[in-house]
């Protein structure tokens, strides 16, 4: 089989707003194989969640302009009819949303909300679906699951709600799971448990997983490949080793540099790179990272394509005009990978 589970090519999502068009996603290409965990990292506002939601058709609307292509098992998702999309949502693709506090409906019992999803896609009786919900809740580490399923969301802590969301996402054994910062609200033990659960889902059902996270320790723990996003674009992608040991894009250096600096506090929201991300209303021409990049030169005024630039690893793609050999020296700051302090003009 040549076709990967998910193939996104040049995805762009624009929202028309009163201030102008927001280019939330502006050229995202990535693929996910069956049984593969792809981590998506990038600072706040880089378009990670919008990318995930667009795959499920959740950003469709009169003010959204979506272009490019996203195929799941060879089926185009972006142009699918709403009816076809409903059969995919929750069933072929499931998403764990970023904000567990508000993602459950406050007026229904937690169990009923899981059962609703199961029964939308599977011919099960209420009792059977409830039994499945209990089993799922136990799997994601909720004690006394049968009893707790009768609770309402407001009776749960953030971490518990997050686990409910995960149980719900797993309920129909999706082919693709999009987990948008699934472990942010959780303490380290539960986090490990959830990651274990994701691994198990992958090995049992061969599902592909897109894991959006800010936590590079989680990435190192579970990801097969890493996609780095910056200001709506994928700026670099490659295997875990390629990204961690031979990073090509200065923004990635910054990310890696900030983790070594904040080692003591793993949960600190990355990245601590000087400057602000560009406005999505009027992004700079050429490379979006250019205004913050200490190594920028004239060429950076042109948009660099996402392409393989390291001779020996064809799967390692990036968007940076710098020469590979120069980068290997530029990225070393005090002997470690990092982004040099910006040169002030």
């Amino acid at each position: 089989m040549s076709e990967p589970l998910l193939q996104i090519e040049d995805l762009a999502v624009r929202f028309r707003t009163d201030e102008g068009a927001v280019r939330a996603v502006d050229g995202v290409s990535l693929s996910v194989e069956r049984g593969e965990v792809v981590a998506v990292v990038g600072e706040s506002g880089s378009g990670k969640s919008v990318t995930g939601m667009t795959l499920m058709g959740l950003t469709r609307g009169p003010n959204a302009e979506i272009s490019g292509s996203a195929r799941l098992d060879g089926r185009e998702l972006l142009t699918m009819s709403n009816r076809e999309l409903r059969a995919v949502r929750g069933n072929d693709i499931a998403m764990v949303f970023q904000d567990p506090m508000s993602s459950l409906n406050p007026v229904y019992r937690v169990g009923d909300q899981i059962v609703e999803q199961i029964r939308t896609h599977q011919q099960l009786s209420r009792q059977q679906a409830m039994a499945r919900a209990v089993e799922l809740m136990e799997r994601v580490g909720v004690p006394r699951a049968a009893e707790r399923l009768r609770s309402y969301p407001h009776e749960f802590s953030g971490g518990m709600r997050q686990r409910v969301m995960i149980a719900m996402a797993l309920s129909c054994s999706p082919k693709l799971l999009i987990a948008d910062e699934p472990t942010t609200a959780l303490d380290v033990t539960i986090q490990a448990q959830i990651l274990e659960e994701l691994r198990q889902l992958r090995s049992e059902t061969n599902a592909g997983i897109i894991l959006v996270t800010h936590d590079l320790a989680v990435v190192a723990d579970i990801a097969d490949r890493v996609v780095v996003m910056y200001s709506g674009r994928v700026v670099e992608q490659g295997t875990l080793d390629e990204l961690f040991y031979d990073p090509q894009h200065p923004y990635t250096w910054g990310l890696l540099g900030s983790i070594t600096r904040v080692d003591s506090d793993r949960s600190a929201r990355l990245p601590a790179i000087d400057g602000m991300p560009p406005s999505l209303l009027a992004p700079p021409p050429g490379c979006h990272f250019q205004p913050r990049c200490p190594h920028a030169f004239e060429r950076c005024g042109e948009v660099p394509e996402l392409s393989p630039r390291t001779p020996d690893s064809p799967g390692h793609l990036d968007r940076c005009w710098l020469e590979v050999e120069r980068k290997r020296t530029l990225r070393l700051v005090d002997g470690q990978i990092g982004l040099a302090a910006p040169v002030r003009a």
Partner: protein
């Protein structure tokens, strides 16, 4: 849940006692028309006669004694209008069928219509249907009932002869005539509410569309219809249901004065209208209390409904 209901009912009784006492002070003690004994005695009475009446009716007693007596009279049906001499309870009971028919019929009509139109406007938001409904609701909200009533009476009843011109026919006399006589008043009373409620509902549906849990519902693969009915409407209906509770209480308590008068229904609203003209404080007190009872009971029911619909409230 049971504890919530009981607590809410106790509050309700306390509220009624306070409201009735304040209204009593306003209407009877700080009487705008002057000494009630003088009113009863009439213009030509001597001070001695006024004093006699004052003692006989207990106007010289402490206020709380007067209050208890007046309340007892009102509730056991032995309160009489000082000016007109009719039995207040009797007058209200005579007006009640017309007013209840008007308010319950119109209430159901305007609630259902605004749910339908408000939902339609929200679902079609920004499109042609929504724009048309926006304009219509503006017209509805700014249409005074007396004008709408007059227009309906002139064109539909008088010119076209489709509806009766005015009056109320009891349901027991003829259900069909009862219905025919109420169509005009129902529409007259409802239009303003429909315009207003459908806007409120449209807004709260659009707000809910952006909720994270609605996105979750869509992400589960539910149909748009199910998302709307189960995940959006349930919460979005709450604001208009609480408005409805208060408005319907007002109308039952004689609040539809204009509609009742234009269509000559002789209900509680019209009784209130006449009582205001005649400074008939006892009747007014009774009607205000009736309204207060309706409002307090309805808002307790609305609160209980809220608690049924939203589990978070049961904690509070």
């Amino acid at each position: 849940m049971a504890r919530f209901v009981i607590r809410r009912l106790i509050t309700m009784v306390l509220m009624l006692i306070v409201i009735s006492f304040v209204t009593f002070l306003l209407f009877i003690v700080a009487l705008p028309g002057g000494n009630p004994a003088a009113l009863i005695a009439g213009r030509l009475a001597t001070p001695a006669e006024v004093h006699l009446i004052s003692v006989r009716y207990g106007f010289d007693k402490p206020i709380w004694v007067q209050y208890v007596r007046t309340m007892a009279n009102l509730f056991d049906g032995s309160a009489y209008s000082y000016q007109e001499g009719f039995n207040v309870m009797g007058a209200i009971t005579r007006g009640a069928p017309a007013t209840l028919s008007l308010s319950i019929g119109a209430g159901v009509f305007w609630l259902l219509s605004s749910i339908g139109l408000g939902t339609l406007a929200a679902v079609r938001s920004g499109r042609y249907t929504d724009r048309v409904l926006t304009v219509l609701s503006m017209v509805g909200v700014s249409m005074p009932p007396f004008l709408l009533g007059a227009v309906l009476i002139y064109y539909v009843s008088y010119k076209a002869g489709v509806l009766p011109i005015n009056g109320y026919i009891s349901f027991t006399v003829s259900p069909w005539q009862w219905f025919r006589h109420l169509i005009g008043p129902w529409i007259t009373l409802s239009v303003l509410f429909i315009g207003f409620y459908s806007r409120v509902l449209r807004g709260s549906i659009l707000d809910a569309q952006g909720e994270d849990y609605v996105r979750t519902a869509r992400a589960k693969g539910l149909s748009e219809r199910r998302v709307l009915v189960r995940h959006i409407l349930r919460m979005s209906l709450l604001p208009i249901i609480s408005l409805w509770g208060l408005d319907i209480a007002q109308v039952i308590g004689g609040g539809a004065i204009l509609t009742e008068s234009v269509w000559g229904l002789h209900g509680i609203g019209q009784l209130a209208f006449n009582a205001i003209g005649a400074f008939d404080t006892v009747t007014l007190l009774a009607i205000v209390l009736l309204t207060a009872i309706c409002v307090v009971v309805m808002s307790a029911l609305v609160d209980i409904l809220y608690a049924v619909l939203d589990p978070r409230i049961r904690l509070g």
